[in-house]
């Protein structure tokens, strides 16, 4: 039985390497993107095999799904592909960068060889005071809340950057009745599953980013079927939604610094509720930001 599992893992690893290599070196960008999405899905399976369902969910929803959609949308805008040219200096610098990253990764992985690490023990020792019962959520929203806050800022910067670029639209086929009918069924399902993931995040794999990505998928689907109006950054409810996550997060952090025990230190008796509040606000913000990234300002969709 063990050998069967080993065979599966080896097949998975080899397939990952092949997909990564071909996605980088294939001649047409379109094929490269499709291979990249397949690579992301296999990577999600790999994370699941490694016992990290949080990462598997995030990789499937954001790494494969959302990034693939964004890459396809970008490809549709750039028009005919320029002929590929690879100056040797660029290949050399890419190689040097790859080696440096490899060294960093090996330095991060090597200590795992020398027995159990202190960090998991530290997390489980303080889990009771964190307000949630799932260690990943405790790390993301309590012990290392700075990282999550800055991730939200990165997402906001991405939305603002895309807005600055003012991408031109492209022609969109007429939305067919079948797509409308199916998106009417699928969109409520995505809302339910997103809510479930968000709620589950406090005690099991799940959380704001995965739930936000699912919500955004529902919004994009409805917009593509022409069932939603144009999403604009200029509308103030849209801006409020996009900014809400960061505002709530910063507000709680500042309130902690001013009245409580310090920046991003929650009072233990409230920490569960505060984390839930942050997660809800972050989910809505992430959903709004991701939908704006994919289909924002595009009047020509779903005519």
């Amino acid at each position: 039985m063990l050998s069967l599992e080993l065979l599966f893992d080896i097949t998975l690893s080899v397939l990952l390497l092949i997909l990564a290599g071909t996605a980088l070196h294939v001649r047409h960008l379109y094929t490269g993107i499709v291979l990249f999405v397949a690579f992301g899905l296999l990577l999600a399976i790999t994370w699941a095999r490694l016992g990290a369902p949080d990462l598997a969910l995030a990789e499937a929803a954001i790494g494969a799904g959302l990034t693939g959609v964004l890459l396809l949308a970008a490809l549709a805008r750039i028009g005919p592909e320029p002929p590929p040219r690879r100056p040797p200096a660029r290949a050399l610098s890419a190689g040097v960068l790859g080696v440096l990253v490899l060294i960093l990764l090996i330095r991060a992985v090597l200590p795992l060889e020398q027995g159990p690490q202190p960090l998991p023990g530290l997390v489980s020792a303080h889990l009771d005071t964190s307000g949630v019962s799932h260690p990943v959520t405790a790390v993301l929203l309590n012990f290392r809340a700075w990282d999550t806050l800055l991730e939200l800022v990165v997402l906001l910067l991405a939305v603002l950057g895309v807005r600055q670029l003012q991408p031109a639209g492209y022609k969109q086929a007429h939305a067919w009745t079948l797509l409308r009918a199916w998106s009417r069924i699928l969109a409520p399902l995505s809302v339910i599953i997103a809510g479930y993931l968000l709620w589950r995040g406090s005690h099991a794999p799940g959380g704001a980013f995965q739930a936000g990505a699912l919500l955004a998928a529902g919004i994009v689907l409805l917009r593509l079927a022409g069932l939603l109006p144009v999403l604009r950054w200029d509308d103030w409810p849209m801006r409020a939604l996009v900014l809400m996550g960061i505002v709530v997060f910063l507000g709680i952090a500042a309130a902690g610094a001013w009245l409580g025990s310090g920046w991003l230190n929650y009072p233990p008796q409230w920490s569960g509720n505060l984390i839930l509040l942050i997660e809800v606000a972050a989910t809505l913000s992430i959903a709004a930001s991701l939908s704006l990234l994919v289909i924002g300002e595009r009047e020509e969709l779903g005519t």
Partner: protein, 106 residues
């Protein structure tokens, strides 16, 4: 009884895998978009349905069976819709081929 269930489940799993392999072969070897879509959606519906059936016969609880059945229904509906959309897009391309087309496969 359990032996019988295990055999039935094994047969369903083998047939399911057969449909997946056949669908993949069809996707790779069939000449035009329509027959490729036919092959691939057949793999999605029949192949996944048989795999779900096979796994349901081995499942521990009704809960697991219900979840797998829901997954099958969702995948079936999505792949049918996607197949229709792709086929219609291709038909429009066939009707007026002079229309410029940025998204198509090179």
């Amino acid at each position: 009884m359990t032996d019988l269930l295990a055999w039935l489940s094994g047969i369903a799993l083998v047939f399911g895998c057969f449909f997946f392999v056949a669908g993949t072969l069809g996707l790779l070897r069939f000449p035009d978009v329509y027959s490729r879509l036919h092959a691939v959606t057949k793999a999605d519906t029949l192949g996944l349905g048989l795999v779900v059936l096979g796994l349901s016969l081995r499942a521990e609880s009704w809960h697991a069976i219900a979840i797998m059945f829901a997954v099958w229904l969702l995948v079936m509906a999505s792949s049918t819709t996607a197949c229709q959309l792709l086929a219609r897009y291709q038909r429009e391309q066939d009707r007026n081929p002079e229309q410029e087309d940025d998204d198509a496969l090179p």
